[in-house]
Each structure stands twice: as structure tokens, then as C-alpha cells.
């Protein structure tokens, strides 16, 4: 056979593969299902419409960028790369600014009552450290954090369904032993909201400076240690 013919065959085969593997129709079907549920939410459970839309965008973003908090925290140790960690810090800087504005208007110049401040503010103490270490070990061993697990289930990984079952079992075990932790550790700790000490504007500025500092540090570490360069 002449090389021309081989090239032609190759091309035809590639087109065949492409045709076979095109999944756009399924994508549109999935989107249609999502839209039907969106309409259902609009008419029956309006409170969920924004979560439903933002959740979809979170899934798309996680999948397109292969965003993985586990890799963000593991790769600096394993391969010296901080590309994802830097992206995480970037996200933190942006949401710090947005959250600060939301909290600023919620507080409205009055005295700070932590229970009324929007966002995730919880007691901090030994339990935070212990829980985070356990969580960190778990996510590296399982090969993905909670958002990574959710994203990979969508991608078709059976393993991550197993990880999800593990997370469900783990949360149940955690909740059933919560009494021990609460009575011995958590009870004596309280929420520490940084603006309580220096005010919201200064706390925000200081946190952004700290995050930018970390970003620069991560960038320097990447250039020094990344074995992929």
C-alpha cells in the first residue's frame, strides 16, 4: 500500500472514532433534565433555584479545571508543584473581598453579634486541628476531597461512589461520637471572628495581605522545587 493510502485510511478511522465517541447529544439530554428540575424548583421550591444554578456551575468549573483541593495540598509535598494551591489562594482572596462586603452590610455598623454574621464561623480549638489532620489523611488516601469526589462521580468513576459511601459512614460515626468531643473539647472553645479584635475593614485588609504573602511564597516554592519544570 502506498503511504498516501495509509494516510487516507488513518484519517477515515479517526473520523469514525470521533463520530462514535461524540457525546454532545447526551450532554444536552442531561442539561434538559437539569432544566426540568429548575422549572420544578421555580414553581414549587423557589428557595432552591439559586443553589441549583450555582451548583451546576460549580460542577462544570470543577470538571473543566480538574480542580482538586487534595492535589493542591498534596502536590507541594509529592512533586513540589503549587499550581493548584496558588489557584486556591486566588479563590480565597476573591471571596474574602466579597464576603467582607456582605458581612459589612449585614453588621450595618452595629456591634458584632457572631451568630448573625453571614458565612461559616464555628468554634475553634484542638478539635479543629484533630479533625483537619484526620480529614487531610483521608483525602490523600482516598485520592480526592469532598468536592473532588462529587466531581469524579459525575465523570463516571465507580471508585468515588465507594469513597462517597465511606464519607457517609464517616459522618455517621463522627456524629455518633460527637458527644464525647463536644463535652470534652468543643464545649470550652468558642468562635473566633477576626474582625471582633480589629474591626472588619482592617481584618479584611490584613487577611488579604496574608493571602498575597502566601501566594508569593507558594510561587517561590514552585519555582524552587517543582520537578516538572
Amino acid at each position: 500500500m502506498s503511504s498516501k493510502k495509509i494516510e487516507e485510511l488513518k484519517k477515515r478511522r479517526q473520523i469514525e472514532i470521533r463520530k462514535k465517541k461524540d457525546q454532545k447529544t447526551y450532554a444536552l439530554l442531561v442539561l434538559a433534565l437539569w432544566m426540568i428540575l429548575l422549572l420544578t424548583f421555580i414553581y414549587t421550591d423557589y428557595q432552591y433555584t439559586s443553589v441549583w444554578i450555582i451548583g451546576l456551575l460549580i460542577g462544570i468549573t470543577l470538571q473543566r479545571t480538574r480542580f482538586c483541593f487534595t492535589a493542591g495540598f498534596r502536590d507541594p509535598v509529592l512533586v513540589g508543584s503549587t499550581s493548584i494551591l496558588k489557584a486556591i489562594i486566588l479563590g480565597l482572596i476573591i471571596s474574602t473581598i466579597g464576603f467582607a462586603f456582605i458581612q459589612y452590610f449585614a453588621i450595618g455598623g452595629k456591634e458584632i453579634v457572631i451568630a448573625n454574621v453571614p458565612g461559616n464561623i464555628y468554634p475553634v480549638g484542638i478539635h479543629t486541628a484533630v479533625g483537619a489532620v484526620i480529614f487531610g489523611i483521608g483525602m490523600v488516601i482516598a485520592g480526592g476531597c469532598v468536592s473532588g469526589t462529587v466531581m469524579r462521580i459525575g465523570e463516571g468513576f465507580i471508585l468515588q461512589i465507594v469513597v462517597m459511601v465511606g464519607i457517609i459512614i464517616g459522618t455517621i460515626l463522627g456524629a455518633s461520637s460527637f458527644k464525647f468531643w463536644d463535652l470534652n473539647v468543643i464545649k470550652d472553645t468558642k468562635e473566633i471572628y477576626l474582625p471582633s479584635f480589629v474591626g472588619l475593614p482592617l481584618a479584611t485588609i490584613l487577611q488579604i495581605i496574608a493571602l498575597v504573602g502566601l501566594y508569593i511564597l507558594a510561587d517561590w516554592y514552585h519555582k524552587k522545587n517543582n520537578i516538572m519544570l
Binding site: 457525546q23 437539569w34 424548583f41 421550591d45 439559586s50 443553589v51 441549583w52 450555582i54 451548583g55 451546576l56 456551575l57 460549580i58 462544570i60 468549573t61 473543566r64 480542580f67 487534595t70 509535598v77 499550581s83 489562594i89 479563590g91 471571596s95 474574602t96 466579597g98 467582607a100 453571614p118 458565612g119 461559616n120 464561623i121 464555628y122 468554634p123 478539635h127 479543629t128 483537619a132 480529614f135 487531610g136 489523611i137 483521608g138 483525602m139 490523600v140 488516601i141 482516598a142 469532598v146 468536592s147 466531581m151 463516571g156 465507580i158 469513597v163 464519607i167 457517609i168 464517616g170 459522618t171 463522627g174 461520637s177 460527637f178 458527644k179 471572628y193 472588619l200 481584618a203 479584611t204
Partner: protein, 172 residues
């Protein structure tokens, strides 16, 4: 058209992901009143199953401490967490189908299965005593200007370091 195809076929850089997720988190807090979080949803799914098989959850200390979490008509299965988790799974599925890269990926070995399950259990347990996962106790907690987010982040790093050592020793 070519450019559009590039957007849904090619992976996006990490930094774009960081920026979009940061913005989406602001939108969540602004429009929903809750920041990005998921792990509690898995507890509720598990509790739903336990409730169905007759376990008395009301006697659990945990639920007596957090009995005011549900808003209008919310339940163990019908709540913010279920909606955000399912929506994110659908988003990921939609995105990978659009790129024509979807494939069911089987579990490779028993070892992988064991470490997946065990790692998942550790993660789940950690979220209960530290009040959240990588989203709730870190990615949403630090922007909330709560000290526990920073503590969680630092010690998640310690955990990831220990986990990496275990990974190198036993799994790789």
C-alpha cells in the same frame, strides 16, 4: 464556533477555576445566605437511611445540638446540601459529556477499593469534629474571617503530608 468548542473541549487552567469558584462562593452567600459546603449533606443522607431502618435519631446528642438547622419544609433528604451536591454532579457530568470524554471507570483493585472506603470514612469523621470539609471549614471559612478556617487549612496540610507518606509507603 471554533473558539466556543475550545471552551468546552479543552481543560481550563487552574487559576481560572480558583477565580470562578471564589466568585460562585460569593454568589451563594449573597443569594442563598449560605456559603459553599457539602459534607453535612452526606450525614443527612446516612441519617435518612438509618431513620428508615428504624434507628431513633432524636436520642442522638448530635441532633439535639443541631436541631434548628432546617428551614422551611427542609428535611434529611430535601435540603440545601442535597440540591448543591446533585447539581454539582450533574454539572460535572454535563461538562464531561460535552467534551465527549465520559467513560465509566471501574475500580482497579481491591487495595484501591479499601483505601477509597477507608479514606472516605476518615474524611467523613473529620468533618464532624472540625465542623466542615475542604469547602465548609476551609474554602468558605477563611473568607468568613473565622479563625477556624486558618487552623483547619494548616492542619489539613499536616494531614495531607502524613497521608502522602502513607501513600508512598503502602499504595504507590
Amino acid at each position: 464556533m471554533k473558539n466556543l468548542e475550545k471552551i468546552y473541549k479543552k481543560p481550563w487552567p487552574y487559576w481560572i477555576g480558583g477565580i470562578i469558584l471564589g466568585i460562585l462562593n460569593i454568589f451563594l452567600l449573597l443569594f442563598v445566605g449560605k456559603s459553599m459546603r457539602m459534607s453535612t449533606g452526606f450525614l443527612y443522607w446516612g441519617s435518612y437511611i438509618l431513620d428508615k431502618i428504624g434507628v431513633d435519631l432524636d436520642s442522638w446528642y448530635y441532633f439535639s445540638q443541631f436541631d434548628d438547622v432546617f428551614r422551611n419544609n427542609e428535611s434529611l433528604i430535601n435540603n440545601f446540601y442535597t440540591v448543591i451536591i446533585i447539581a454539582a454532579i450533574i454539572g460535572s457530568l454535563f461538562s464531561i459529556l460535552l467534551a465527549s470524554e465520559f467513560k465509566v471507570k471501574k475500580v482497579k483493585s481491591k487495595k484501591q477499593l479499601f483505601f477509597g472506603l477507608f479514606g472516605g470514612i476518615l474524611m467523613g469523621y473529620g468533618t464532624r469534629i472540625a465542623f466542615g470539609c475542604n469547602l465548609g471549614a476551609f474554602f468558605s471559612a477563611i473568607p468568613s474571617l473565622s479563625l477556624h478556617g486558618w487552623v483547619f487549612g494548616i492542619f489539613m496540610f499536616v494531614g495531607a503530608y502524613i497521608g502522602s507518606k502513607i501513600l508512598i509507603k503502602f499504595i504507590l
